[in-house]
Symmetry: C2
Amino acid sequence: MINSIPEPAIKRLSALYQLLCRLEVSEVNAISSREIGDRLDISAHTVRKDISYLRESQTSGARYTVLKLKELIARSLNFATSRKACVVGLGKIGTAIINYSRFSSYGFDIVAGFDSNVNIVETLPAETDLFPSYMIPEIVKEREIELAILAVPFEAAQLCVDRLVKGGIKGIVNFSSALLTTDKNIVITDVDVTKELRVLSAMISLGSK
Amino acid sequence: MINSIPEPAIKRLSALYQLLCRLEVSEVNAISSREIGDRLDISAHTVRKDISYLRESQTSGARYTVLKLKELIARSLNFATSRKACVVGLGKIGTAIINYSRFSSYGFDIVAGFDSNVNIVETLPAETDLFPSYMIPEIVKEREIELAILAVPFEAAQLCVDRLVKGGIKGIVNFSSALLTTDKNIVITDVDVTKELRVLSAMISLGSK
DNA sequence: CAATATCTGTTATTTTTTTCACAACTATCT
DNA sequence: AGATAGTTGTGAAAAAAATAACAGATATTG
């Protein structure tokens, strides 16, 4: 592939994009690689290298223009076009996420919510259209939903994934503690508090890094 | 350091530990590196390599004994001794986490909850002791809390971190969208849905991996 | 009980990622 | 305008991690 950016770099650039959005709001209009590094807890070298993967020089010698750099990253990583997403599982976590209004301003439109409990679907006050879980494949396909946030109990997770895949989903953020299996071309990231606590615990013990 | 395990390996071993716990419940008592790899979506080579960092041979040639391996990992990564943790911010996410009862069975004891709203602290039904936020330094020190789950709004995050650090916290799982800064020796992992969505989005676009 | 198939543990190799070094550029101050 | 201090971009070097290869061990099957 021509434009092959290392995965760690993609993650850091995503974080950088977030930082730049903040800086824009604070009306900061220029920042150096060192300042970025301090804020993001990475080296200035890495910051510059990551930006260099985008193959479009900013004015060398001067600090980065916040707006210009933000737009370069948006263009390179396709943050410009907004993507449709859905929330599966409307328990406490799912409800909190679906009612978090700021997604759209970050380029993600939550266009559907699903739950296996029809009662919840009918009574929950939400601005988003809600459907029973068996309709996942149909709605995902119909509304061209690319991303899903999965917040169902452990036991239900795999079934939901299968339904999402059936509808043609491309990526899943998994809040359940289940270990999901699926095709290679569907990207899944796991968000598991217990796992995070464990990793922290291990890093504290081993003093790694 | 003598026992230096690469950070990616620590993360994978944590996931493996979780898998082994599941297998134990399902009464599976042996598993091969290939089967582990399939489940965790990594190569069998990597699995064996990761385990080899623990410097204690299992019976070579035979498959891994679930119980034995689980205990080896627990011993090596210090999962055996339980750690005390707290939840800061008792909004929807924080409440969901503090009421999630299974932490203790995974070696984490949630021994305190904090919120700046005294009303919430007094009225919220929870099994855990709740305190107003200004008491964080005192309680963290007193109860020897090592880990914190931070689920407060953006604006309040940094103040809470400073208070936690004052109390001697060692690690923080950050659910807020704030970019936190602190001493190098305190480990922070960020859990940000928007960031995860962005990374997924970029990976879908670039077709990386 | 021998033969075969299947495993693990670990060294060696390859690939990926980070770090370094420095030329070239920009802004600022006198 | 010259000098100085600070900055980026990037090819090269170093470090880290993933992958492969295989020796040595263990089950299993006929």
